[in-house]
């Protein structure tokens, strides 16, 4: 099982994970480490050790925002962002409840916006996200402020190429 996780993450991320020797440069510069349950250097060790259950249930994999600071500084040129992406994908594939479901709700609202309009339309996307996350009132004031400043147009502008977009999504769903 341990080997499986390491092999799968290496294959998907293309990163030389076994080279990590715990210098912790990644964790020192990580802007999100305060929100992680395991700092990035520990995530790397856990992948090496095959601690699949703990990793796929962790908050760390969802709080990483792929800013690529760690990967740019790693002395062994390991990029952790793709490792996190691989762990996120495995979490969803295996049907494990994500430790941070709202991030998943945001990502799926974003994709659905592209599916519908070919482009992202903030107003409908954020309403969809609110519906999915069942979090209706937080930052409502921010939305109203943006709307009043004319930054959120009500009417979405569709791409002129919707037929092709539909085809791609249909093909991908097979």
């Amino acid at each position: 099982m341990a080997e499986n996780l390491l092999q799968k993450v290496v294959a998907e991320s293309g990163q030389p994970i076994d080279l990590c020797y715990q210098c912790r440069k990644c964790s020192v510069g990580c802007p999100m480490v305060e929100e992680f349950d395991f700092p990035p250097n520990m995530v790397m060790r856990m992948v090496q050790l095959g601690m699949k259950d703990e990793l796929l249930k962790s908050k760390a994999i969802w709080m990483c925002i792929s800013c690529e600071t760690c990967g740019s500084r790693c002395p062994n040129e390991i990029r952790i962002a793709p490792v996190m992406d691989s762990l996120r994908a495995q979490c969803l594939e295996e049907g494990i409840a994500p430790a941070d479901p709202v991030t998943v709700a945001l990502h799926s609202a974003f994709i659905e916006s592209i599916k519908t309009f070919g482009r992202v339309h903030e107003a409908t996307m954020l309403m969809n996200y609110k519906w999915k996350s069942k979090n209706f009132t937080s930052d409502l004031d921010v939305g109203i402020k943006l709307f009043l400043k004319g930054k959120i147009p009500l009417m979405p502008k569709k791409s002129e190429n919707m037929a092709k977009i539909k085809e791609i999504f249909q093909e991908a769903g097979k």
């Binding site: 294959a11 998907e12 991320s13 293309g14 802007p31 999100m32 305060e34 929100e35 709080m63 925002i65 792929s66 800013c67 690529e68 600071t69 990967g71 740019s72 500084r73 990029r79 962002a81 793709p82 996190m84 992406d85 691989s86 994908a89 709202v102 991030t103 709700a105 945001l106 974003f110 916006s113 592209i114 070919g118 482009r119 992202v120 339309h121 903030e122 954020l126 996200y129 996350s133 979090n135 937080s138 930052d139 921010v142 402020k145 943006l146 400043k149 004319g150 930054k151 959120i152 147009p153 502008k157 791409s159 002129e160 190429n161 092709k164 977009i165 791609i168 093909e171 991908a172």
Partner: protein, 291 residues
């Protein structure tokens, strides 16, 4: 000179002024941004895992369209679109297996022929900062500017290659060309909290607070950015920062094209400063940049 241009979704909505000012300035500088036909969203995140081909189909289609419309360059203004398009093209050039899978899937012939450029790169490498300096009508004299890069304009350096990782200077050189004074501040390449702002406001508030305090401690009058999301976080989080730190004084956050427009003497009324939460006009009037 005409450059094919990919505006991206947000530049039609929230970041309209980044786009408007960029287009207006280009005309003043002797080039034109020619909007790509029938463009779709770039996907806004680059697929990091090797087998995520579907997420790469969007940006690849955009690049293939650019090529088919007879171009070998594509300019972006938004850091996010620039990052996704540039990295996708890097895959098209360097990873034959992934390239073949994605292009087969979307049934297009594309081999990485289009060079993806950021608008700043056009100014630096095609127009030249010296030539830009000569076109400046109203130098930004006495204006201390914190040039905030954030993440996506720079990283990963091997794939983006716009500038060096730890101490890039393209943005500072741009401000010098406009006659302004760039300040050195340690947080210029730190992350603003990005999309965590949607569901974890406190995270974005913390990240933005640290960046803004760093800029102000270095003597900055304002902060400029190339990214709609950075602009949102840094501008919009300030009232929240003030709640926990009443001593925090606000600082305006502008798109770099807005400052360029001022230096080229475009009317401040056209630049949409009323859309900024922290109004930059009092500062710009005090500095004599806007009358």
């Amino acid at each position: 000179m005409k450059y094919p241009y990919f505006p991206g979704c947000t530049l039609y909505t929230k970041a309209k002024k980044l786009d408007d000012a960029g287009r207006e300035c280009s005309l003043k500088l002797g080039f034109e941004l020619d909007e790509l036909k029938d463009w779709t969203c770039c996907g806004a995140t680059f697929p990091l895992v090797n087998d995520q081909h579907i997420t790469m189909s969007g940006p690849t289609r955009i690049l293939a369209d650019t090529k088919e419309q007879g171009n070998d360059k594509l300019v972006a203004l938004c850091s996010v679109c620039y990052n996704v398009l540039k990295r996708t093209n890097h895959v098209m050039l360097n990873d034959e297996e992934r390239r073949a899978k994605v292009t087969d899937f979307i049934e297009r012939d594309y081999h990485g022929e289009v060079e993806v450029l950021h608008y700043l790169q056009v100014l630096r490498d095609e127009i030249g900062f010296d030539a830009l300096k000569e076109k400046v009508v109203k130098p930004l004299a006495g204006l201390k500017v914190a040039c905030y890069y954030g993440c996506l304009l720079l990283r990963p350096v091997k794939e983006i290659g716009l500038d060096v990782m730890e101490n890039p200077t393209i943005f500072e050189d741009f401000i010098r060309a406009l006659g302004g004074e760039p300040v050195e501040f340690p947080y210029k390449i730190e992350c603003c909290g990005a999309f965590q702002a949607v569901h974890s406001m406190d995270t974005a508030t913390r990240c933005s607070r640290d960046i803004l305090n760093s800029a102000k401690d270095s003597g900055a009058d304002l902060v400029i950015t190339t990214c709609p999301l950075c602009q949102f976080n840094l501008d919009d989080r300030q009232p929240e920062i003030q709640k926990s730190d009443p001593g925090f004084s606000s600082i305006p956050i502008l798109y770099f094209t807005q400052l360029l427009a001022l230096a080229l003497d475009l009317s401040a009324e056209e630049l949409g400063f009323e859309r900024n939460l922290i109004d930059p006009l009092p500062l710009l009037r005090e500095k004599g940049i806007v009358s």
